[in-house]
C-alpha cells in the first residue's frame, strides 16, 4: 500500500438549470501517507463524493493534481480500489469470481487468483459464501464482499464512498469494527467518505472536515486501537473528538 496526495484539486461544472458555472470543489489539498486511514466528512453538497470520484478517475479534474505512489493519475486504474455505496458487485459472478476479478485483470492464473480470493474472503469471515451469487446475500454481506473485492486487487489506496450508509445500524457497527480490524492487519491506505460523524471518528487516524468544496479543518484522532464500540461509546476522548468534529460539520 502506498501514499496519496491530493494537490490543489478543484472542480467546476456548468449547471444548465442555474445557467452558470458552479464550483463543487475548490483548491482542496489532502495528504494521506502510506498506511493511514483518513475520513472525509461534511454535509451533503460539500463536495466529498466529487473529490472521491475525481481521485477514482471517474470524473475529470478542473484543476490541481492527484498523485498516487509518486505518479500523477488520470482516469480509473487498479492502483485505486473503490468500494461503492451500492455494493456494485457483478450479479452474474459468484462471490469468489467477484473477488478474483481484480487479480484476473492483472493476469494472475486461475488457481492462484482463487487462492488470493479465498484468503481475502477468509479475512472477512466470508469463506462460506464463496459460491453464492450477490443477490443471495444480505446487505451487510454484500458490502463485506465489496470491501474484500477492492482489497484483493492490492491497490495502492482504497477509496470508500459511504460504503455502510445503506445497511441497518447494528450491521453498520459490526462492519465498522471489522474494517478497523482489517485495517490493523493489512494496513491499507484508506480514504473513507461519510456524513456520519461518529463513524468517521471511530474509523480514522485523521478526519478531514469539508465545507462548501473546501477543507475546513483536519482533526487528528489519537484514539488507541483496537477500537470497539463497546469501549469507545463511553470513552471521554471519543466523545470530545466526536463533538468537536460535529461542531465543525454543523458550522459548515
Amino acid at each position: 500500500m502506498k501514499s496519496l496526495s491530493i494537490r490543489n484539486l478543484s472542480k467546476t461544472y456548468f449547471d444548465p438549470y442555474a445557467g452558470k458555472h458552479v464550483t463543487a470543489v475548490q483548491d482542496v489539498s489532502i495528504e494521506v501517507p502510506e498506511g493511514e486511514f483518513v475520513s472525509i466528512v461534511g454535509p451533503s453538497g460539500c463536495g466529498k463524493t466529487t473529490i472521491l470520484n475525481m481521485v477514482a478517475g471517474f470524473l475529470p479534474v478542473s484543476g490541481g493534481e492527484i498523485v498516487v505512489d509518486g505518479r500523477a493519475v488520470s482516469g480509473p486504474g487498479p492502483d485505486r480500489g473503490v468500494v461503492f455505496q451500492s455494493h456494485a458487485l457483478f450479479p452474474w459472478k459468484t462471490v469468489l469470481e467477484n473477488v478474483a476479478f481484480g487479480p484476473k485483470m492483472r493476469g494472475v492464473g486461475p488457481k492462484e487468483r482463487e487462492a488470493i480470493a479465498r484468503d481475502y474472503l477468509a479475512l472477512a469471515g466470508l469463506s462460506h459464501a464463496a459460491d453464492r451469487y450477490p443477490n443471495e446475500l444480505s446487505g451487510g454481506m454484500q458490502q463485506r464482499v465489496g470491501v474484500v473485492r477492492a482489497l484483493a486487487n492490492e491497490p495502492a489506496v482504497l477509496l470508500m464512498d459511504e460504503p455502510f450508509a445503506s445497511v441497518d445500524a447494528q450491521t453498520r457497527m459490526t462492519l465498522q469494527e471489522e474494517l478497523t480490524r482489517i485495517w490493523q492487519e493489512r494496513r491499507p491506505t484508506i480514504i473513507f467518505i461519510t456524513h456520519d460523524v461518529p463513524e468517521a471518528v471511530f474509523l480514522a487516524n485523521r478526519v478531514v472536515v469539508l465545507s462548501k468544496g473546501r477543507v475546513l479543518e483536519e482533526v487528528e484522532i489519537d484514539l488507541p486501537r483496537p477500537r470497539s464500540w463497546e469501549t469507545l461509546i463511553e470513552d471521554e476522548r471519543f466523545k470530545t473528538l466526536s463533538s468537536r468534529v460535529l461542531q465543525l460539520v454543523r458550522s459548515a
Binding site: 480509473p76 480500489g81 473503490v82 457483478f90 450479479p91 451469487y133
Partner: protein, 268 residues
C-alpha cells in the same frame, strides 16, 4: 427433520408443475371438445371445417409419408439461419449503441421506424432482391428478429448500473474484458427477452413468407393444401404451427429467460 422437509418440498414443486401443465392444457382440451361437438351438431361440411377425426388422419398420413418432417425441417432451417444471423449482427450493434450516445442518437429513430415494418411487410421487396426461396424467407426472419434483439440489447446495456462499469474500470478491466465480462452478461437477460420476442415475430413472418415465396415449409404446406381443397390438412398444419411454437417457447425460450434473470436476481 430436514430430509423430510426436502422430500415434502420436492413433491410440492413437482405437483405444482403438474398443476401448471394441467391448467395450461385444460382450455386447449375444452377447445377440442367444443370443435368436435360443433362440427357434429351443426353437421358442418368437411370442406368448410373438418372434424377432429379427419384432421388426425391427415396428420397421420403426412407423418407416415414423411412430408410433414420435410416441411418442418425446411421451416426450422430458415428460422435458425435467420435468427442466428440476426443475433450475430443485432447484439454487437445494440452494444455499440449502448456505449456510444452518438451512435444511439443517430440510429434510435431508424430503429423505431423499421421495427414497425419488421416482418412480413418486407416479403414483396425480399422476393425482388433474393428471388423465391431460402434467401427471401431468411431475410424476412432476420428482419423480424434483428431489430428486436438490437433494441433489447441497447436497453440491456443502458440498464447496467454505472457503478458496475466504474467498478470494472477501477479493478483494471480493459475494453475487451469490459465487453465480455460486464456489458454482455449484464445485457444478457434483455438479449434473451429480445430473442424470445423476435422469434415470436419471426415464426409468424415465416408462415406468411412461406405461403408466397417458396415450395417447401409449413406455410407452403397450408397453401398447397388449399389448392387441393384439403381443409383437414390446412387445419392440421395450423395446429402443428401453434404447437411447435408453444413447445419452442415453453421448453426452450421461457426457461432460458427465467434462468438468466432469476439466478442473477435481475427481476425487472
Amino acid at each position: 427433520m430436514s430430509a423430510v422437509g426436502n422430500i415434502g418440498a420436492g413433491r410440492s414443486a413437482a405437483s405444482e408443475r403438474v398443476r401448471a401443465a394441467f391448467s395450461f392444457l385444460l382450455p386447449l382440451f375444452v377447445l377440442l371438445v367444443v370443435w368436435e361437438a360443433t362440427v357434429r351438431i351443426f353437421d358442418v361440411h368437411p370442406g368448410i371445417f373438418p372434424g377432429v377425426g379427419p384432421v388426425l388422419r391427415a396428420g397421420a398420413e403426412s407423418v407416415a409419408n414423411g412430408t410433414l418432417f420435410l416441411h418442418i425441417a425446411a421451416s426450422f432451417g430458415r428460422v435458425l439461419t435467420g435468427t442466428t444471423l440476426a443475433i450475430l449482427v443485432g447484439v454487437p450493434l445494440g452494444i455499440l449503441m449502448g456505449v456510444s450516445p452518438g451512435v444511439s442518437t443517430v440510429l434510435t429513430p431508424l430503429f423505431r421506424f423499421f421495427s414497425v415494418l419488421a416482418g412480413i411487410a418486407w416479403i414483396p421487396i425480399a422476393t425482388l432482391w433474393f428471388g423465391y426461396g431460402f434467401g427471401a424467407i431468411t431475410f424476412v426472419i432476420f428482419n423480424a428478429v434483428f431489430f428486436v434483439v438490437a433494441y433489447n440489447t441497447l436497453l440491456g446495456v443502458s440498464g447496467i448500473p454505472h457503478a458496475l462499469r466504474n467498478a470494472a474500470w477501477s479493478l483494471g478491466a480493459d475494453r475487451k474484458t469490459m465487453l465480455f465480462e460486464v456489458l454482455l452478461p449484464g445485457a444478457l437477460p434483455n438479449i434473451v427477452t429480445g430473442i424470445r420476442t423476435g422469434l415470436g415475430f419471426a415464426w409468424r413472418g415465416l408462415i406468411a413468407a412461406e405461403m408466397i415465396a417458396t415450395n417447401m415449409g409449413l406455410g407452403y404446406m397450408l397453401f398447397l393444401a388449399r389448392d387441393f381443397y384439403r381443409t383437414e390438412l390446412i387445419v392440421f398444419g395450423m395446429v402443428v404451427i401453434g404447437i411447435l411454437w408453444l413447445l419452442i417457447d415453453r421448453l426452450i425460450l421461457a426457461p432460458l429467460e427465467r434462468r438468466t434473470i432469476e439466478r442473477w436476481g435481475l427481476v425487472r
